[in-house]
Amino acid sequence: MTRRVLLHVGTPKTGTSHFQDVLFRNQRILRKQGVLYPAERFDAHFLAALDLMQLPWGGLEDEAVGAWDALAEKVRHFHDRHPDGTAIISHEILAIASRAQAERAMASLGHPDTEIHVVLSVRDLVRQIPAEWQENVKHRRELPYGKFLAQVRDPERATPIGSWFWGVQEVPDILDRWAAGLPAERVHLVTVPRPGSPPDLLWQRFSTTFGLDDLELDVEAERANPSLGVPETTVVRRINVKANKVVPPADYRPLVRELLAHQTLSRRRRSPRLNLPPADHAWVAPLQQSWIDTVRDRGYDVCGDLDDLVGDPPPADWADPDHPDEAQVADAAIDAIRALLVDNARLMHVEHDLHERVGHLERELEKAYLRPTYRWREKTVRRLQASRVGRLALRGYRFARGRSSRSA
């Protein structure tokens, strides 16, 4: 009997949201097959990851205190009852964990008595670099693409942007931290298929790696992290510049990230796509090749093809998000305004309905107050409260009635 934990530690922008959503929605089916995905909410493992790495995250860390230990406890408890069961933990920001944090995580999950497998889903840097900038923009960042790229290129990695980018994207370094103590056959890489591949190919690779092929799962995408084009990303970045100071993070998430970026602007598919600048292919290509060589030499299990990590050549007509076509930006902005108007109208109707309900309740309450018996009781209580004897009588009555409330 083998207790197993499949620990999916990254990387961001590799279809992780969809994968986690499928696991979350199919927890019961998985459980019947001896697979635990312990989560009461879809982002449960995100909070656990924040806790493990003591990572501030715009106030969400307040909810995360103790979350990793709670998650690990669930896994250990599950294995106590199902010694041959498999538990899955998945969150892409685990990629940034230090070696000590990774060791602590594995120990808390029962390593070395439990068979831990580390899974890393990976995508070529040609797509990851622009995707990370876009993710930054969707998290309120205001910096232009050029400045982001300069910080990513800086070998010192001294800025938060550079430090974070390489922390979650440098595949060999992530594996040094997470897989140093594991045999190669327990380290699995899932490569994101090249552009133009069948849409379900990535899911098939996840499914194979996590041993889910024989299960009937609902894999419909309900929660994904869709990408934006150049003008759409520009609109969001300009909104950040103007609105960050007046829109608190808790409001930004539903309004800008969800309503505007995910539900509105990501549906515009005909605008120029965000790409790596042609000049940056020169340093990205050899770096990517060195990663492929390192990973191949280590003999890890690869689901997919390491050559998927070789990025496509630069497009003939590259669109610069720092100097976008203003007509396209205006067009995207109009779509954003339209979405806000529609949502505002919906909220106005909700408000109107609520006003009507409150008015109705107030009228009902008024009627109740106007009943002669109510007015008589109110008058009696007022009179009794005016004298000491009356107050004593009232207290006696309430005691006999069995209520401590002092209301009439």
Partner: protein, 364 residues
């Protein structure tokens, strides 16, 4: 080569202070990976400042820099380094700010493991007390409210008077930033102030006329709204003889508090964090008597302009103003204690090192 790095680790954990560049001794490896340059340089600074016990040395060496900054960096010349991962550095080149950040994490861990005394007993509410609400300068009103509650004078009640506490506008801004920094961390003072100036108006929490107007708009009687431009005047309005002492944090202490409070966030839930900050961290920070934080010269004109605007509004306001409205104008600091417009990372680090070592003020 790796043996040289391990030799330096052993030297530092034994209390050594030799810089990495001058080190040539060797030792057997103790683990798979050599601790990072930041941890080792911080340990060397701690050794330079006084004796470090074995427990603290082990904690420093095993610590992790916060994950929003650079990860543990390899030592330049400290052994084979792979092609990937962060580039090696000379520990002497690690900026003081980065060391202060690591020291803040260690202080936050120490705070988080602190056992708090049972919450102090609160007197039953007095029958004959002044009903009040407090607004304004958070560095005055928050401790004042706590003091009043402990004394049986909780806020609220029937027909409370609203006391809005103000002072020199520059100090109001410093106080607001300090309070926010200690509550949950904040951007550095210069960044926060620059963002405030870009906004073009004072934050509502310290905009005295705006606070007063908000009360009037909420239906509070104008005779119940009191603005005081000198905090000492609040005592009489609240029915107490005097206000509790109000220690002002030095620039380095406020900056360190900001860093520690930020590192503490993922370690303790808000109610416990609030108590740890108030009851443990603040007394630590108050032991520093360095120069106070002030508005830097480049923003003084803007602050003076906003203060003038407040003076005009307070003079015309339909509420009571106690004290001269002109007291909200920024005052000149004494020549022998002019304050600083930004905390120097070196001073923040020095304070963090002193607190980690538990050295009292007079020995620092």
């Amino acid at each position: 080569m790796n043996r040289r790095a391990w030799g330096w680790v052993a030297h530092l954990t034994d209390g050594g202070t030799t810089p990495w560049a001058d080190w040539s001794g060797e030792a057997e490896p103790c683990a798979e990976v050599v601790p990072g340059a930041q941890q080792l340089e911080l340990l060397r600074r701690l050794n330079l400042a006084g004796g470090v016990g074995a427990e603290l040395a082990t904690t420093v060496v095993a610590s992790d820099p916060p994950r929003r900054s650079r990860p543990s960096l390899p030592l330049v010349g400290g052994g084979d380094v792979p092609d990937h991962g962060p580039r090696p550095v000379d520990p002497a080149d690690v900026p003081d700010g980065e060391l202060a950040r690591l020291a803040s994490v260690l202080l936050a861990q120490r705070l988080a493991s602190t056992t708090l005394e049972p919450a102090p007993e609160v007197l039953r509410p007095r029958v004959w007390r002044t009903r009040y609400h407090l607004r304004g300068d958070p560095e005055v009103v928050v401790p004042l409210r706590r003091h009043l509650v402990a004394d049986g004078r909780p806020p609220g009640g029937r027909h409370p008077r609203v006391v809005i506490v103000g002072t020199d506008t520059g100090q109001l801004l410093v106080d607001l930033w300090t309070a926010q920094s200690l509550r949950h961390g904040a951007p550095p003072w210069h960044e926060w102030l620059a963002a405030t100036v870009r906004q073009g108006r004072l934050p509502e929490q310290v905009d005295l006329p705006r606070l007063a107007r908000r009360e009037l708009d909420a239906g509070v009687d104008r005779r119940a709204v009191h603005v005081v431009t000198d905090p000492a005047l609040a005592a009489g309005l609240l029915g107490v003889r005097r206000l509790p002492d109000r220690p002002v944090l030095s620039a380095a202490a406020a900056d360190l508090g900001r860093r520690v409070a930020s590192a503490l966030r993922p370690m303790a839930r808000p109610p416990r964090r609030a108590r740890l900050t108030t009851e443990v961290l603040r007394p630590w920070l108050e032991t520093d008597d360095g120069p106070a934080l002030v508005v830097p010269p480049r923003h003084r004109e803007w602050v003076t302009g906003r203060a003038e605007h407040m003076v005009g509004e307070l003079t015309r306001g339909r509420y009571r103003v106690h004290g001269d409205p002109a007291l909200v104008r920024p005052t000149e600091r004494p020549a022998d204690n002019p304050g600083v417009g930004a905390a120097a990372s070196s001073r923040t680090l020095a304070l963090a090192v002193r607190l980690l070592l538990g050295t009292p003020r007079d020995e620092s």
